[in-house]
Symmetry: C2
Subunit: 244 residues, 2 copies
């Protein structure tokens, strides 16, 4: 998971040992983490090839039409990309530990919530990458988004969106929730106040205790260090390796 990120000029790694799936990934990419979480939750064996997103190896473009991560390579060399399409494929092909609700209506409702979370993602991204402080509009977009999820948790049996165990919705929003403390850096302490999003905060704590989540979990300290390197124009993807 923390293997060095391959850059332009790096040799293409040999196929994975045994009949395994391979993920072209990046340790700090939240979309890649979605795929990793689902592979871990379903206990599907896989192999990771980490990619330096600032200097991609040429062969990546031969493998993946859009040259982006995450991409999944099947045992037969088929390539899939787009995180949500990859995870749906995994859930359909590997029947163990099903993650989507069985009921088509509930599944569709959860997929709508995942779409709605995109508004939180894009606002978080803008705040983290470009602007120093949170604008009122961004603050409102994130608050509205989180309130939707807070209320949703209240309406469900819980403690997870997926019920007694995390399901697809839990895992699809998790990577950004893992990074939420970063927002405090920008002075909006109240954004993540425990009393405003009580259920969501309890959910977050419970998620960090899940074996699946623990596998790819990084402390806020690492996320903040990475963000600082990114904002300085030199993203340190090998931060974890280098800090050992």
């Amino acid at each position: 998971m923390n293997s060095p990120h391959l850059s332009r000029g790096a040799k293409q790694p040999p196929p994975p040992r045994g009949s395994k799936l391979r993920v072209y990934s990046n340790r700090f990419c939240p979309y890649s983490q979605r795929v990793i979480l689902v592979l871990d939750a379903k206990k599907i064996p896989y192999d990771i090839v980490n990619i330096n997103l600032s200097s991609k190896p040429d062969w990546l473009y031969d493998k993946v039409p859009n040259g982006k991560v995450p991409a999944l390579e099947t045992e037969n060399g088929d390539i899939l990309y787009e995180s949500l399409i990859i995870v749906d494929y995994l859930d359909e092909r590997y029947s163990q530990y099903p993650l989507h609700p069985k009921d088509p209506l509930q599944k569709a409702k959860d997929r709508i919530l995942i779409e709605r979370f995109n508004k939180v993602i894009s606002t978080m991204y803008r705040v983290m990458m470009n602007v120093g402080r949170i604008s009122l509009d961004d603050d409102e977009a994130i608050s509205n988004g989180l309130t939707t999820f807070e209320n949703e948790l209240g309406d469900r049996v819980g403690p997870f969106f997926g019920g007694s165990k995390p399901g697809m919705l839990d895992f699809m929003i998790w990577p950004w929730c893992e990074r939420a403390d970063i927002l405090k850096l920008f002075g909006n302490q109240h954004l993540l106040k425990k009393d405003k999003y009580k259920k969501l905060m309890e959910w977050r704590t419970r998620m960090t205790e899940e074996t699946t989540v623990k596998k790819s979990l990084l402390d806020s300290e690492f996320h903040i260090k990475y963000l600082q390197s990114y904002r300085a124009g030199m993203p340190d993807y090998d931060l974890i390796l280098n800090s050992k």
Copy 2:
């Protein structure tokens, strides 16, 4: 299908007769057409409520959280939105005339192609709505997109993307292909030249002969008239009704 479009102040229509699905739609909205095509392909009974998108009835926002069309209302009053989520729901819930490939890998590949078609959609939209003539960049984006689909048809058994009958991929890209002649208005005759996209053009003709497609099909003449009214700032959603 061609019922008047309800505007602000219009009374909310009573529930559909019998146990039917209802689609909040707009006669010229290609995303709404996706849902209609799938309902027709699977022979699911439904009821249409057309919405004036320039002056939406207030009750629409009580029904649909984002106030957008298409939205699907189930017999129990549940609301789904986002065209691709609605059609996946319909294909899962109603097993007759399955539209997605059974193989999860092929299904995922088709979903990636539907995502890739978004590039064609967004470029077509920009060209049709804002700019007078096609820029070289837009021209290239549309050409690259169409070439992908032309090659894809060559690789498949055909004559449709779905095989001997149109499948989900065929229906999801159709609404924009139905409107493709509009691009000729902007002077790029070569864009849709028959010899460049031979298979795609044959596919297009074959699609217009399908019963499902015929049900919602509009002549280019109508699409062009609608676009002219839209660009003049007064979209005439009731164009078909008014022209009778």
